[in-house]
């Protein structure tokens, strides 16, 4: 699967942004320059058009073009000008001398209003600027009076002319053409340089990500979970990500370490019983023995294999419990289960002169759970208390029910508690290398109990007090 690239995305977005900006800027510059350059020409042809419009007169009922007389201060302007009249009433055309026999395009704005256009001059095809306007003959007041007297009143609006005045705009057009090229090339060059600079900036910005990525990718197999080497130049935007990643790696490292501990401890736990088994077999085979001796050795081997099998069963039970999805809880009487377990352990308590104080009434406390698992957890807690309590000490057992849960508390004195009580629930965890009790204490009872409590939707918690007591609370949801 191809994943979107941050670099390409940034390049495209930045390119579009810069391109649009440059285009808008170029267009603005072009039209501002064009407007500025054409403004003078437009002003000039407007003036010429105004002058010429005033020089069509109605005199003795005939039209006269005063500019043809070449009088006045505008002679030079008119002699060099390019303009043309169309008498819309008769179709007669009048041209300036500069046009010779060529015609300018005939146009004007809506309703005869002035309109400016870019045109090409007919005689040489050069670019020019032109204004088209509808004009009417000018009637002097005395001529008007005369027409009224003679009774031959002519309305000037019945004699419309179209006047088109043009001016060669080749220099301006040349400048604007050059300007278009300059702006176009400038835009393309800016885009190219911008692409290069933006690409470098993006590459530079993404460098820390690539460095982190390389660090992770090139990590050796045995250092997969070691912390990242964070540079002091790492951008603040990435610091949080890197720290979170480091924190994740730390947790993974911790889990890996615990798994390693578990495997090492499991192997360790198996080594000693296997050593005993091997030694017993080797001893039996070392020399010919009597049938009774062989019988004795075989019985010993059997008990050792049974112990190894028990250890393996608990280990696999622990693994299975880790995968348990759901248990169907049923209503169980925890008081009854607790009493039954206490009865079973009485001889163990007596052996070590331990006093059990039952701090609970014999009323049934019903919980939702699995009876077998609950009994297993309670037995395990009692077994620990029987083993780790100092001789002739006291074990307190409580059971109480609140609105939504039932809690069994087993509390005893212990002289050797780890600083972190949670570690007691780690499989095969030992506080130190001393083995406290051979046989039943395989180091997985509490792990198994914790998993079992969770599988029933309950909890198993450990607390210690300042005066050296440790209490285990086994909590299940109440069924009432």
């Amino acid at each position: 699967m191809r994943h979107p690239s941050i670099r390409n995305s940034l390049l495209v977005r930045c390119g579009i942004g810069v391109g649009a900006l440059m285009l808008a800027l170029s267009i603005s510059i072009y039209y501002a320059a064009r407007h500025g350059l054409y403004k003078e020409i437009d002003r000039s042809i407007k003036q010429t058009a105004a002058l010429l419009g005033n020089q069509i007169e109605l005199e003795n009922n005939e039209l006269t073009f005063e500019w043809q007389e070449g009088i006045g201060t505008n002679k030079q302007l008119i002699d060099a000008g390019l303009f043309q009249f169309w008498n819309e009433a008769t179709g007669e055309i009048t041209r300036s001398a500069g046009l010779r026999s060529f015609d300018l395009p005939k146009f004007c704005g809506p309703d005869g209003s002035p309109e400016l256009r870019d045109i090409k001059l007919p005689q040489n095809g050069r670019h020019a600027r032109a204004i088209g306007i509808r004009v009417y003959p000018f009637v002097l007041p005395e001529e008007m009076a005369r027409m009224k007297e003679s009774g031959q009143l002519t309305d000037p609006r019945s004699l419309p002319h179209i006047l088109v005045v043009a001016q060669d705009a080749k220099p301006v057009h040349y400048v604007l053409t050059r300007l278009r090229w300059i702006l176009g090339l400038g835009t393309l060059t800016t885009l190219g340089i911008g692409f290069f600079l933006i690409n470098r900036a993006i590459r530079h910005s993404l460098q820390p990500i690539e460095t982190l990525s390389e660090q992770v990718a090139k990590r050796e197999g045995n250092r997969l979970d070691s912390a990242l080497e964070l540079s002091s130049k790492l951008p603040s935007e990435l610091t949080g990500l890197a720290e979170s990643f480091d924190s994740l790696l730390g947790r993974v490292a911790s889990l890996r370490m615990r798994e390693k501990d578990f495997i090492r401890n499991a192997a360790h736990e198996l080594r000693t019983p296997i050593a005993g088994l091997r030694a017993t077999i080797e001893l039996a085979l070392n020399r010919p023995r009597s049938a009774d001796e062989y019988q004795s050795k075989l019985e010993l081997c059997h008990s050792q294999v049974t112990a190894i099998g028990e250890l393996l069963n608990r280990l696999s039970a622990l693994a299975r419990m880790g995968n348990a999805k759901h248990l169907q809880p049923e209503k169980i009487n925890l008081t009854e289960i607790l009493n039954h377990c206490l009865q079973n352990f009485q001889s163990r308590f007596d052996q070590r002169n331990l006093t059990v104080t039952r701090k609970f009434a014999q009323t049934p406390c019903h919980a939702n759970g699995d009876g077998t698992l609950a009994a297993m957890i309670i037995k395990n807690l009692l077994d620990n208390a029987a083993c780790y309590s100092p001789e002739s000490s006291q074990i307190d057992v409580e059971i109480n029910e609140t609105n939504d849960q039932v809690r069994v508390l087993i509390q005893n004195r212990s002289d050797d508690l780890p600083d972190e009580l949670d570690r007691l629930f780690e499989p095969l965890f030992r506080k130190d290398s001393s083995r406290q009790n051979e046989g039943s204490h395989l180091g997985i009872g509490l792990s198994l109990s914790l998993e079992s409590a969770h599988a029933m939707g309950g909890k198993l918690l450990a607390q210690k007090t300042a005066d050296g007591l440790i209490g285990f609370s086994f909590i299940l949801p109440s069924s009432t």
Partner: protein, 224 residues
């Protein structure tokens, strides 16, 4: 030769004890660290076979305490810990050898014998004084070409004298290293067994190699 076996696993402890005993050693056992430490401090053992993970006092602590008191006993550590660090730690703490569980009892026996040779500064496993030879591996004794049959106790006594050949061995040392507790021996037993040995190793009136040093003990040497 007296061994102390400190091991909390009952089956391993019993099997090792019996195997070593059948190999001619007197074996005392301890199931907990504190018992083992007390026994090692109070008795002159030739070799201590020591597990590391023990109840109450762990094996490393026993090693440290014995060495801190300049106890010269040779210690063979037998542990389930197989890491290099564990082995280095134990050897640096004063162990003389290290055996990883599960091990072969025959290997444990061979290593124990090697430690014994080291104890008495010997390299050749075959021990000889004049034409009297003792093979600890085969547990056999010969005078010249003639094989000599000894009881277990006689063999232990002779082996101990061999280990300390050329030096005076006190009665107390013989008592500690050769006689088992609770076997009903008396103060006269040492003389009795020395007498038995002399008869067996000098069957044809050969030169006596066991000499009595009055008031001190016995010495095995060739004075010719």
């Amino acid at each position: 030769m007296r061994l102390l076996l400190i091991e909390d696993n009952a089956s391993l402890r019993d099997a090792t004890r019996q195997y070593m005993h059948e190999a001619g050693f007197i074996v005392d056992t301890a199931a907990t660290g504190d018992e083992g430490l007390w026994a090692a401090q109070e008795n002159p053992y030739d070799v201590v076979l020591l597990d590391l993970m023990l109840p109450k006092v762990d094996g490393m602590e026993i090693l440290r305490r014995l060495r801190a008191k300049e106890n010269p006993v040779h210690i063979l550590v037998m542990s389930a810990r197989d890491g290099l660090d564990d082995r280095l730690q134990a050897l640096d703490a004063g162990a003389d050898d290290y055996l990883v569980k599960p091990f072969s009892l025959s290997e444990a026996l061979a290593r124990t014998r090697a430690l014994l040779r080291r104890s008495y500064q010997r390299k050749n496993p075959l021990m000889r004084v004049a034409d009297l030879t003792l093979d600890p591996i085969r547990r056999s004794v010969q005078r010249g070409d003639a094989a000599i049959v000894l009881t277990a106790l006689e063999y232990r006594l002779l082996e101990y004298l061999f280990h300390r050949a050329g030096e005076v061995v006190s009665r107390a040392d013989i008592w500690e290293h050769v006689f088992e507790d609770g076997t009903g021996g008396t103060s006269n037993s040492i003389e009795v067994y020395i007498g038995y040995l002399r008869k067996k190793i000098n069957p044809g009136g050969e030169t006596d190699l066991i000499h009595t040093k009055r008031g001190h003990g016995y010495i095995l040497e060739d004075r010719h």
